[in-house]
Symmetry: C2
Subunit: 334 residues, 2 copies
DNA sequence: CTGTTAGCGCCTTCAT
DNA sequence: ATGAAGGCGCTAACAG
């Protein structure tokens, strides 16, 4: 048994060539694959990483996942998937499940929740995971200690405001998600701050808070229109919300950008194909996924700049850049 | 130890209340989670399913995955993800990896490859998996024995042809993927057959074969235009290809549907938002994912009709229905 | 009802 | 270079 084990694993010169080939051949004939559980038990770990996120079918998460999968498979790491559908409870549950699996690493993708109970539970779960030798990292802010890949959400939000101001807009609407999501908070916060910095009153921005989803974007835009829209530009906290908003605007007969300029955030692949091609803030989503996976797999990054206090958590910042397309123009309405 | 195990797992009345609470409390205090590998080893199985597909960031697979995840998490099954990026080799490798994990079930999503070596290897791997008590199923055709969830690809392709014929089109172009993919073969085959059945010559359809991807769609449309398009309607073998085709047509100055009617296949969520909203063939993608997961988890289906020979493989057929939107009109060019 | 004893399949010392 | 033995953490079968 020991010899077979050595022949199969220890690629080294510890087994006679003849014996090794004999073992290998038998294995092939039997289509033998070692029991990964037994290996994991004996080795006390395994190249496995747990991926926790809202929902893979959301293009934002899909793109990040793709990047993560590329790196994982290049390094022979097995990926386990956990969809939370935005439930903090499920998120914690998945950490615990992956802990039970003795996952080598856990990747928590997407906005954190601003909720004391959740934060405490996550901190505890992740702490134990780490004490047991596991790694973990976040993609997006989490108000929790740990390595992270961070999109420049606030900077992006501010850039949107400045781009719109430069076009001549002075009254804005924002289709926001729940402010308890850190991502939303940063994007909308950055936007509002930039507007105020430009000397406009707070009242220049009308913020509507709905679900952080396509339906939420739809609801927000429809309600905004029905309450008698005075804004000349609408900023959506994500492209997925912008998708919904666009549908609502079409139904309500509001022309984009004629009546209203529209901007999203993320630059998911379809934005360029929409009617009209929609302005947004581009983020290297797949790159973020790759960087995060590299972070937890402890392989060197590839061009991404690391910004970390000495010994502190490692943080990889991803720039957010405004991409102007046809959904934004100078305001024409009076 | 045994008592602790019983208290934790066997929800029955086999342990004194007092002892059980004591165990439970200790577990909670220590944030104990049982080692899943040890459990799997002792139990010889675990509720784990391996999901094999091309790429989660492709909206088609993303939607199917979403459905599969819903059912999996409702049944407490852990999902492992394998992205093949269309490599038959990796597909086989993942089956073997999941076999090593002693996955309870393996779900192979997406078109199979028409390749003898691949088919033989898959048959062997899946056979061993099954002999070891594992289940598996396909989503889409695979020319391999086993349970399957099958979209009506050929029927859908034919329906596209008929819809276009009815609008008055007589000369067609098809942006096809590699004909070695069964999905492509069925869709394009159904289309071509229906055109011939309508009494038109084979030459009425110009088929261009490119990658089965957005880039492939782009290349196909661009090349068709540059070679001097005589068709009045373009059928793309998938919506993702249609996305690329639309971009190419825009760049080449071909107006849709003015110069050319366009149809895709799948009805991925964005099609309705495109410029113009694009006609396609709708498939209940998430439903297919759910059905497939139910199939391998052996839980009753929910409204989906099963079509199976007695004792033979179980097959769930999903209807494909044409959805006409603004990318298709009667031909105006001469 | 509780405790004891074998494995589950593999890997890793430790002898040989 | 090979083989034998112990243990990874848990559960199931068997005693008590």
């Amino acid at each position: 048994m020991a010899t077979a084990s050595r022949a199969l694993n220890g690629g080294d010169r510890v087994v006679t060539d003849e014996l090794r080939t004999r073992v290998l051949q038998a294995a092939r004939q039997l289509r033998y694959v070692p029991n990964a559980h037994a290996q994991a038990l004996a080795n006390r770990t395994r190249a496995t990483v747990g991926l926790i996120m809202h929902d893979v079918s959301d293009p934002y998460f899909a793109a990040i996942t793709r990047g993560a999968m590329e790196v994982a498979s290049a390094h022979g790491a097995l990926v386990m998937l956990g969809s939370t559908f935005r439930s903090p409870h499920r998120e914690i549950e998945y950490v615990s499940t992956f802990r039970a699996q003795r996952a080598q690493a856990i990747l928590v993708v997407g906005s954190g929740f601003d909720d004391a109970e959740y934060l405490e539970a996550m901190r505890a779960e992740l702490g134990i995971h780490q004490d047991a030798g596991g790694r973990y990292a976040f993609v997006s802010h989490h108000d929790l200690p740990g390595d992270a890949v961070l999109p420049d959400n606030a900077v992006g939000g501010a850039a949107v405001a400045r781009a719109l101001l430069e076009l001549g807009h002075r009254r804005f609407a924002v289709a926001s998600g729940p402010s308890s999501l850190t991502t939303v908070e940063h994007r909308v916060g950055g936007f509002v701050d930039a507007v105020e910095e430009a000397g406009l009153p707070r009242s220049a921005v009308r913020v509507v808070e709905r679900e952080f989803s396509e339906d939420g974007g739809y609801d927000a835009a429809r309600d905004l229109v029905r309450e008698g829209l005075s804004a000349t530009a609408l900023f959506c906290a994500s492209d997925v919300m912008a998708l919904g908003a666009l549908a609502a605007l079409r139904e309500e007969g509001v022309s984009v950008p004629g009546d209203l300029s529209l901007m999203g955030f993320d630059d998911i692949p379809v934005m360029r194909h929409l009617a009209p091609p929609t302005s947004t803030v581009s983020l290297d989503l797949a790159g973020m996924g790759r960087a995060a996976m590299r972070l937890v797999l402890d392989v060197p990054q590839d061009g991404v700049v690391e910004e970390s206090g000495a010994g502190g958590p490692r943080r990889l910042r991803f720039p957010a850049e405004v991409v102007l397309r046809e959904s934004t123009t100078a305001p024409t309405r009076r």
